[in-house]
């Protein structure tokens, strides 16, 4: 399949774009990565995703697919090379989709809540939410992985991608708050180990942003959001 047949519109800092990249890597799909410039949206993006005007957008033979988790399922259903991302049993699939939705609807907003907190009290409340979310995910990992390295078992699965794509941002949050959120020793031993294994996986290691680089980008992003010039 010609490389230009598959295009991914995205940007390196986005965890949602990362999901699509990991899925494509798992399936050994060659694709052209069309990088959006920070602060502006290309004609191609606006044309391909007129509803949300957001990245990622997967273009397969010119047809756009939007929303990261929808893209991951599309990639899993379209390419049969590599391992399966979603399990085959309907109940296991429901559990995988449940936790992926949880990451998007509850966990990720709670992470954003830390950065957006206007005062110490709000920050503390946001951190507690993240910690309780991690506790849920730690318990889920135990039940779902059944002793294997990933949520998906021997191989990376849907929950691994949905949650693992946030790890770089989670590490940036640890850096800026000075708190250990994924804690080997105390609260999340299984997740701490999983995070390491996930980041080293060949489908992930080449595309996961480096924490330092992302932390620098985060400064730019927050400055832009607050309307001030970054130092």
């Amino acid at each position: 399949m010609a490389e230009s047949d598959v295009k991914l519109i995205g940007a390196w800092p986005s965890p949602f774009v990362l999901r699509a990249r990991i899925a494509l890597n798992i399936k050994h799909v060659d694709y052209e990565f069309v990088e959006e410039k920070f602060g502006s949206k290309s004609e191609l993006l606006l044309k391909s995703n007129p509803v949300h005007k957001k990245i990622p957008v997967l273009l397969h033979a010119g047809k756009p697919i939007c929303e990261s988790l929808i893209i991951v399922e599309y990639v899993d259903e379209t390419w049969t090379s590599g391992s399966s991302i979603l399990p085959s049993d309907p109940y296991d699939r429901a559990i995988a989709r449940f936790w992926a939705a949880y990451v998007d609807e509850k966990f990720f907003p709670s992470m954003k809540g830390i950065a957006a907190a206007p005062n110490e009290e709000a920050k503390k409340a946001a951190l507690e939410q993240v910690e309780s979310g991690l506790a849920f995910l730690e318990e889920a990992f135990g039940k779902i992985s059944k002793g294997k390295p990933f949520f998906g078992g021997e191989q990376i699965g849907h929950i691994d991608i949905a949650f693992g794509s946030l790890l770089a941002w989670l590490r940036v949050t640890e850096k800026t708050t000075g708190l250990k959120l994924l804690d080997q020793a105390k609260t999340t031993p299984q997740l701490a180990k999983w995070a390491e294994t996930f980041c080293q996986h060949p489908a992930v290691s080449g595309v996961m942003p480096e924490t330092e680089k992302l932390a620098e980008f985060a400064k730019l992003l927050f400055a832009k959001m607050k309307g001030i010039n970054p130092q």
Binding site: V51, I65, E67, Y74, P90, A94, F98, A101
Partner: protein, 231 residues
């Protein structure tokens, strides 16, 4: 064995999220037990079945609980092969259905709630935003109904039909309470025809909550919300 394969739906009669699951089960001809939850006084059973979100709907099948309405719908489609196929076979079409289902459930629903909770000048702007989102859906529907004529029958209902009718089947209630034409035949002609065709199906019409009961419920909710915000 009979007990294990039993299906139980924990729902709440005014909830469109629970309603879509009911409709899906009926379309598939799945016998089920319905348990009405009082969301102001959640049962221990509900809290133990859905500890993460503590919400309805929850579907229990083979003794195992599944939460999140869209996740449940896909589980139903994959588990029971009678009745209409809720998701198409083609991966691109599946991606489109999932995209719009999520749009209806999150974006459109969100807009309606914002309008309901706002008064005065700010409301005008929110109504316009709601219409804009409806227009986007109307545009999107063109790929589902290329000849502009949605003719529907129960054998061919899909996930998007089920989701949309669950949220907007009672649009006359919203119009009466909110005082604006939620489904405007001039602004969104395709949506208007589509909804009319859906509501012509007895199974859908009879499963939706009765108009007067819903009006009384929404009025009660709005009054309580206003009281607590002005207290």
């Amino acid at each position: 064995m009979a007990e294990e394969s039993k299906v139980t739906l924990y729902g709440y009669w005014p909830s469109p999220f629970a309603k879509m699951v009911e409709i899906a089960l009926k379309l598939k001809g799945v016998p089920y037990e319905y348990v009405e939850e009082d969301l102001t006084n959640k049962s221990q059973m509900l809290l133990s079945l859905n500890p993460v979100h503590k919400k309805v709907p929850v579907l229990v099948h083979n003794g195992k609980p599944i939460a999140e309405s869209l996740v449940i719908l896909e589980y139903i489609d994959e588990t029971w092969k009678n009745g209409p196929q809720l998701l198409p076979m083609d991966p691109y079409k599946r991606a489109q259905v999932r995209f719009w289902a999520s749009f209806v459930q999150q974006q459109l629903q969100d807009s309606m709630i914002k309008v309901a909770m706002t008064e005065g000048e700010a409301r005008e702007k929110l109504v316009e935003e709601a219409y804009e989102k409806m227009r986007l859906l109307d545009e999107g529907l063109k790929s589902f109904f290329p000849d502009g004529n949605p003719s529907i029958d129960t054998e061919h209902l899909g996930l998007l039909d089920v989701v949309f009718v669950s949220f907007f089947g009672n649009h006359k209630v919203h119009e009466e309470v909110l005082g604006f034409k939620v489904i405007d035949p001039e602004k969104t002609p395709l949506i208007h025809c589509w909804l009319k065709a859906l509501l012509d199906l007895p199974l859908l019409k009879e499963t939706l909550p009765p108009h007067d009961k819903m009006v009384a419920f929404i009025k009660f909710i709005n009054e309580s919300a206003l009281k607590s915000s002005t207290a």
